[in-house]
Symmetry: C2
Subunit: 186 residues, 2 copies
């Protein structure tokens, strides 16, 4: 099955255990990023095949998308607060993941049942904006929530909030475009 | 001496050797980030006291600021290209570093000679925008160049380009504000 986490998950080790634990709460077809085709599943932010990366996992939750991520102690900016570059990175990957999920839904690609259908789409970032509204405390899990505000065949724009302990600390906007096939050497 | 890389550099190990080698080309007082006071020098993107982080180093070069960074092989998005979240992170830290350097210059704080003067200032990000103009090839060193476009006591806005092999692949804009003292627990 294309892009599924099956037996090969053992290869990823501990990093994916968190994913498996958190998956039950919000899973409606699995994490978007787990359906990226193998040749484009290495993103440092969200690729399941990048053991060095963050392995962010995004899911549908009604008409919103959600991801949760707990920063490491060294993901700091000023001590006690989360590094803004990490926040930008998570917003970025949640936005491109949301774009892919929206396109998959539009194209009739059911996550987890790609056999015989087109592969799960892959989007890349054209533009990213982040407003840091308040310092984000380092420690608690962060919750990212995405809402699609523009959606066309080629381009999807998602607004994303980042919250810690229920307080929104950052807002982002991701303009994602369908990955040109030549980027993947196809 | 506050925030200088002296004997303590031995503690940082290999990561700082690169910094020391590259310093000669563009150094006019050392990297901005090496002058951050010790209690706010842990940023994952640029803090000299964060051994897990990127340790980005930014310097004056005329009226522009410049930083160079070579991504690791795992800092990928689509294989062969640099992860956009890393690009955003580097722009972020180069922008806040530039803001601090501008404020230091305005306040008469000479990098490397802070003894008896106010500490080197520290700025944090209020807003970050990145336009990804072209895929950034993974492999060559990236060059970041910053130009200050707005400068006040509290807020500095910097426009940053990212280039690889002489081609600009991303443009960013960082609105940085002076760090509130309470963030550092002062």
């Amino acid at each position: 099955m294309r892009g599924r986490c099956g037996a090969s998950c053992h290869d990823h080790g501990l990093a994916l255990m968190t994913h498996h634990r958190s998956q039950s709460a919000a899973d409606t077809g699995g994490a978007f990023q787990d359906h990226y085709p193998d040749d484009v599943a290495h993103c440092f932010g969200c690729g399941r095949l990048n053991p060095h990366g963050h392995q962010l996992k995004s899911y549908w939750e009604g008409e919103e998308t959600v991801a949760r991520f707990t920063p490491q102690p060294y993901h700091t900016a000023i001590p006690g607060y989360v590094y803004g570059g990490l926040i930008a990175s998570l917003i970025d990957c949640h936005g491109t993941g949301t774009a892919a999920a929206v396109a998959a839904r539009r194209d009739g690609i059911e996550p987890g049942a790609e056999e015989g259908t087109a592969p799960f789409p892959r989007f890349v970032t054209a533009a990213l904006e982040v407003s840091y509204l308040a310092p984000t405390p380092l420690g608690p899990a962060l919750e990212l929530r995405g809402k699609v505000v523009q959606d066309s065949e080629r381009k999807v724009t998602t607004e994303v909030t980042v919250s810690a302990k229920g307080e929104i600390t950052a807002r982002g906007r991701v303009v994602a475009v369908r990955m040109p096939e030549h980027m993947a050497g196809r």
